[in-house]
């Protein structure tokens, strides 16, 4: 005759298979919703383009000293705090450089890792941040401007 523990054990073991079943069903529901509604609204490329345009416009229209971060923030009306947020928004300015992506002595650099902008695979892989590279002339100097965005919006609980 089985002891009480022996009688209870098979029923208690069943709880794991039940939980596993719930996980499978729940996982299936979540996967279905994700597939239907997509991965969210990705505006990183738009943001990189917009930032690039804003800084380029500022450099061309004003006599800002774009070797200084503070001058760039002030003259181009940029929110300094957003650039301090964990390398999500990056800016690199090179003057008369052969390859701004590889340039080790740029005129100005906010953030790090601009190598991703030169990777062909990064263009189609959504895991990589989005880049915008532009070149223009100012006072007979060739200026290369690289802007990078890796920011997503956040959904938070509110009262």
């Amino acid at each position: 005759m089985l002891s009480k523990r022996g009688q209870a054990a098979p029923r208690q073991v069943m709880i794991f298979s039940f939980i596993l079943l719930l996980i499978i069903i729940g996982g299936g529901l979540v996967a279905g919703m994700f597939l239907f509604f997509g991965a969210g609204y990705d505006t990183r490329q738009v943001e990189a383009d917009t930032l690039n345009y804003a800084i380029k416009d500022c450099i061309l229209k004003s006599e800002t000293d774009f070797s200084s971060k503070e001058a760039l923030y002030q003259d181009c009306r940029l929110n300094e705090e957003i650039f301090a947020e964990g390398n999500l928004l990056r800016v690199k300015i090179c003057v008369n450089s052969g390859d701004c992506i590889e340039e080790i002595k740029p005129e100005l650099q906010i953030g790090s890792d601009f190598v991703v902008c030169g990777l062909v695979a990064a263009e189609t892989n959504k895991a990589f941040p989005r880049c915008k590279i532009s070149s223009f002339l100012k006072n007979d100097n060739k200026i290369d401007l690289i802007t990078v965005s890796d920011r997503f919006n956040r959904r938070s609980k509110v009262g």
Partner: protein
């Protein structure tokens, strides 16, 4: 074996299963309801579009945006119109709320502030109006 004790054990096991099942169904129902009308996507869309507009804006601009879809969704989720959009001029971010309990935030890099934001109804559609002024950090 004592029949009453055996019955009690079976009942206890079933109660545990039922509690787990109810918890699971509640969580799934809550998350599915959240996805109703694509609330999450629309919040992200409006937040991103507003941020893009603000990033391009200059002090002195007055912006009018069609937010009819947002107001329809918010009304369906019993969210007050005045709660839909939040402009935080200190943190430089936009908040969009189309369902109760959660809000989507997105910050902008343009150092400006947003003032006089209102939603006007039936003009002939529902629109959001706001003015852009110099940022507080720039000493407006």
């Amino acid at each position: 074996m004592n029949k009453r004790a055996a019955l009690g054990d079976i009942l206890m096991d079933n109660i545990i299963f039922l509690i787990l099942l109810v918890l699971f169904i509640s969580v799934m129902t809550a998350s599915v309801i959240q996805q109703r009308d694509g609330v999450v996507i629309w919040e992200q869309y409006y937040a991103a579009e507003l941020v893009e507009i603000i990033n391009f804006a200059e002090p002195g601009d007055e912006i009018i945006i069609d937010v009819h879809k947002a107001t329809v969704i918010a009304k369906g989720n019993e969210v007050e119109f005045r709660e839909i959009y939040e402009f935080d001029n200190v943190k430089k971010r936009v908040g969009v709320k189309l369902s109760r309990g959660r809000k989507t935030y997105y910050s902008y890099f343009n150092d400006v502030s947003i003032v006089e934001d209102t939603i006007e109804l039936a003009v002939p559609i529902n629109v959001l109006k706001f003015k852009v002024v110099k940022g507080e950090s720039a000493g407006a």
